[in-house]
């Protein structure tokens, strides 16, 4: 039994991922598109995941607002958010915000189209946010001093979350790949006085591990993904271990509903590729992501007084032969493999009955027309794209990874 797995980078339980029309989309919020019926919640539960950081996509330099959820399958959307967890905001650097791989024929390129422009987009947004904050601070000060008939500054829903970042009330989760863009955001963060919580993906984090460590910034990365684009060509499976050795708090995330079901296995690879200890590897998907998300007082380890979020395996979880038997959240069993298997016959029966009903219903109007054969199976959403990565991109208007 281990603490429930925490996925620091997920896109499950969301009806939309990317507001890709502008490069600063801080006004949109993932909480408003939570989908409690997404089957991926259940599938990830079956992989031992108990909490997940639900992020906006990476089409924008500054993306939408994010939140941490617990995978309380069967509960309404209002019961998914992790109570008291700090809200976040997605930033993205590199190829995705500059739209390198996502041009749409006939449409002009969106600014920014270079890493230089990405920096300036973020700086410009925080300059505005700083002025906006000053306007409100001045106004509040004058109100507090007893001045009457003042006109408040106009509310700006785009800048409000950035002010929260400046005030330390909202975590920055920044998608990034290359070492140069990692250092760029550290400089910008210093200039404006905010902190990046974890860098996300951060596949070249191992090249600037000392800089990450001395800035006190976490890193949430992949286990062994590489070469799906140029900025992932120097990605190595030792990234998590090398950063850990230099004192960075590191987690392994999924960015993908299926990948999340075996994060325990992905963490184990750091033992092979970077000689992490068993405990260090396990922390990559439990305590470390909890620290990065600011929820480690409640989850991430098994301790008296902590939430009973647990994953039970039939084998050492850092093995490819381990299978989750039970997953608990708040002390309640949300996934039970034995029950799942026992219920399958019933579900199959129900499906057959419903399909039969559907066939009957469809037969009636057809009696007038020429009989027409219906497809017996529900057609799969189209997968007309050349690679899994691109398929994901297309499905979400480009730019998750």
């Amino acid at each position: 039994m281990i603490p429930g797995i925490i996925d620091c980078h997920s896109h499950i339980a969301a009806e939309a991922i990317n507001e890709g029309s502008v490069s600063v989309s801080s006004m949109v919020n993932m909480e408003e598109v939570l989908d409690p019926d997404d089957i991926d919640i259940y599938r990830d539960l079956a992989g031992g995941v108990t909490s997940a950081n639900i992020l906006h996509g990476s089409a924008n330099s500054i993306g939408g607002q994010t939140l941490v959820i617990k995978l309380r399958w069967g509960q309404p959307a209002s019961k998914l958010p992790f109570e008291g967890a700090m809200p976040g905001i997605k930033f993205a650097l590199g190829e995705n915000p500059k739209r390198s791989n996502f041009s749409i024929p006939g449409q002009p390129r969106r600014y920014p189209a270079t890493r230089m422009g990405v920096e300036e987009t973020i700086r410009a947004a925080f300059s505005e946010a700083r002025d906006y904050k000053k306007a409100w601070d001045d106004y509040n000060k004058r109100v507090a001093a007893g001045e009457k008939n003042l006109i408040p500054p106009r509310r700006d829903l785009k800048l409000e979350p950035l002010v929260e970042v400046l005030e330390g009330k909202r975590y920055v989760h920044s998608h990034c790949y290359r070492e140069d863009e990692i250092l760029m955001l550290l400089r910008v963060a210093k200039e404006f006085g905010f902190k990046v919580r974890p860098f996300q993906h951060v596949l070249e984090g191992y090249k600037v591990a000392d800089e990450l460590a001395s800035a006190g910034v976490g890193a949430s990365t992949f286990s062994d993904w590489w070469a799906y684009k140029v900025e992932a060509y120097d990605a190595i499976p030792s990234n998590a271990a090398l950063m850990t050795r230099r004192g960075v708090i590191v987690s392994i995330n999924s960015d993908d509903a299926e990948e999340a079901t075996h994060l325990n296995q992905e963490a184990a690879k750091s033992m092979k590729y970077g000689s992490l200890s068993h405990d260090e590897a396990l922390k990559l998907v439990t305590l470390n992501p909890a620290i990065q998300l600011g929820i480690d007082k409640r989850v991430g380890s098994i301790d008296v007084g902590k939430d009973a979020d647990l994953a039970v395996y039939n084998h050492d979880p850092l093995s490819a032969y381990a299978v989750v038997q039970k997953t608990l959240i708040d002390g309640r069993v949300y996934f039970d493999r034995e029950k799942d298997i026992a219920n399958r016959a019933e579900i199959e029966k129900e499906k057959k009955a419903l399909t039969e009903k559907l066939k009957q219903a469809e037969k009636k109007p057809e009696e007038k027309k020429a009989p027409e054969k219906k497809p017996e199976e529900k057609p799969k959403p189209p997968a007309p794209t050349p690679t899994p990565t691109a398929a994901q991109g297309a499905a979400t208007q480009g730019g998750v990874r």
Partner: protein, 454 residues
């Protein structure tokens, strides 16, 4: 007794191993050419031949690229390079039966991708032609214990995803080592790729980035048209093959595409048919049966639904990674993971493949996950070694550790399917092959970065 005169490589560390390798083969002065040693012996190893029970404290001798002897009481020949594998295990190298190795370097960068020719009918194109022996994927993949792969082209722009019913070209079986493609080749033309057409009622329009619905009747018409076109091609190829047999081909214009289809028509070259949904699989099986083609199913997400017909028609399957979600929401969450065990129980022969380059090194992980869901360990090992070899007609040459077979093998410190196991030595065509690669180079480099001053 084992001869003491033989040179010993003692340290199993990969970098030292590599240094030895460099010393052995690169020591002569510039310009001079050296021949690599032709005889190796691995001693004191537990040897999993996959052609019988494992041999405890066994010896395996390689000579001129082949396995010369394997057993418990095998003499080490004089002059052999000896690897003392005490505490280590020997397995056949893993065989990844669907990849784009050498054909695609960075999938998002078109200029580095040679996997998909444009146009629908390209039976004449051959993967081996475009395999880049310098691809960084090759040494990275090799380090995970994979010694040979099938490099698979795909036509119509849709790699492995189905799409138009088209012969996508000839797949090539290659070793993951060699200075040139000629040195890498196991079999230039090992299978003809056929992307089985789907009845697609939903399509994706890239121009507008939106989904479009198509009525079923319309989608079915389009499917029928594609199958008819495919049938016409095969008919013409059949006539062309007959003309060739009668030696009268000079009377016709030479047609390279029909000529490429001739071995398919004759049943000499198998068709590697990409299909995933049960309906598509059954349609493909029926078609290939009628056309008398030797079919191998590739993908097979729902192969379990067609297991009876696959067994009765003796059709083997190259399965997609089981670490993937099933196609339907109401499928059991572990549907893909339990499929291998179900196919094995039904007597359907299958291999497990990565269908990728970057994730090729997850091949063992996928097989182990199938074991966690009911597949026998022995069968899992076979599904990534001898089964792919047999399915591609290479079973007599490679895939087990038997005398006379090509010496592609790995020496590991444990179960090659487990996540934490290291490959200590790797042999391709009987040659000690370096495990060094781009990832290890970067690891070493940044492990040794002096502490930053800030």
């Amino acid at each position: 007794m084992r001869k003491r005169s033989a040179t010993r490589l003692r340290t199993p560390l990969y970098f030292f191993n590599f240094l030895c390798f460099v010393c052995l083969f690169s020591a002569p002065a510039a310009g001079a050419q050296s021949q690599p040693p032709s005889v190796y012996a691995i001693t004191h190893a537990k040897i999993f031949t996959l052609a019988g029970s494992p041999i405890e404290d066994g010896t395996l001798v390689m000579r001129d690229g082949k396995i010369a002897a394997v057993g418990a009481a095998v003499e080490v020949p004089a002059g052999a390079q000896v690897i003392d594998a005490q505490g280590l295990q020997v397995y056949p190298g893993l065989f990844d039966a669907v990849t784009q190795m050498g054909l695609s370097e960075i999938s998002a960068v078109n200029a580095t991708v040679d996997s998909a020719e444009t146009g629908s009918y390209n039976p004449d194109v051959v993967a081996a032609t475009a395999v880049s022996p310098s691809s960084e994927h090759i040494p990275v993949t090799r380090a995970s214990g994979i010694t040979e792969v099938l490099a698979v082209p795909a036509s119509g722009g849709f790699d492995f995803g189905g799409g138009p019913g088209t012969p996508g070209g000839q797949a090539s079986a290659i070793h993951l080592a060699g200075w040139t493609i000629d040195e890498m080749l196991i079999k230039k033309s090992a299978a003809m790729v056929l992307n089985w057409p789907q009845i697609q009622t939903e399509t994706f329009d890239f121009a507008t980035f939106s989904r479009r619905e198509k009525p079923y009747t319309e989608a079915k018409q389009e499917y029928d048209r594609q199958v008819k076109e495919l049938t016409d091609w095969l008919d013409r190829a059949r006539h062309y093959a007959q003309a060739m047999e009668k030696g009268s081909v000079s009377k016709y214009d030479r047609d390279l595409k029909l000529e490429a289809l001739a071995p398919v028509i004759r049943g000499e070259l198998p068709v590697l048919v990409f299909a995933n949904r049960a309906r598509d699989i059954r349609n493909a099986v029926e078609f290939c049966d009628k056309q008398r083609l030797k079919m191998i199913l590739a993908g097979g997400e729902e192969a379990y639904k067609a297991k009876d017909v696959l067994r009765s028609k003796d059709i083997s399957v190259v399965l997609r990674p089981m670490l993937s979600f099933p196609p339907d929401e109401d499928d059991p969450y572990d549907r893909e993971l339990t499929q291998p065990a179900e196919l094995a129980a039904a007597g359907v022969k299958f291999a497990i493949a990565s269908f990728d380059n970057s994730f090729a090194r997850r091949l063992g992980q996928n097989a182990a996950n199938a074991v966690a869901h009911g597949l026998s360990y022995e069968e899992a090992l076979r599904s990534v070694t001898i089964n792919p070899a047999q399915i591609l007609g290479l079973g007599s040459q490679i895939g087990t550790l038997e005398q006379g077979k090509i010496a592609n093998l790995i020496v590991t410190n444990g179960d090659p399917l487990e996540l934490t196991t290291d490959v200590k030595y790797l042999f391709i065509k009987g040659q000690l092959t370096p495990l060094e690669n781009k990832h290890r180079r970067l690891y070493e480099k940044y492990l040794n970065r002096p502490k930053a001053s800030n």
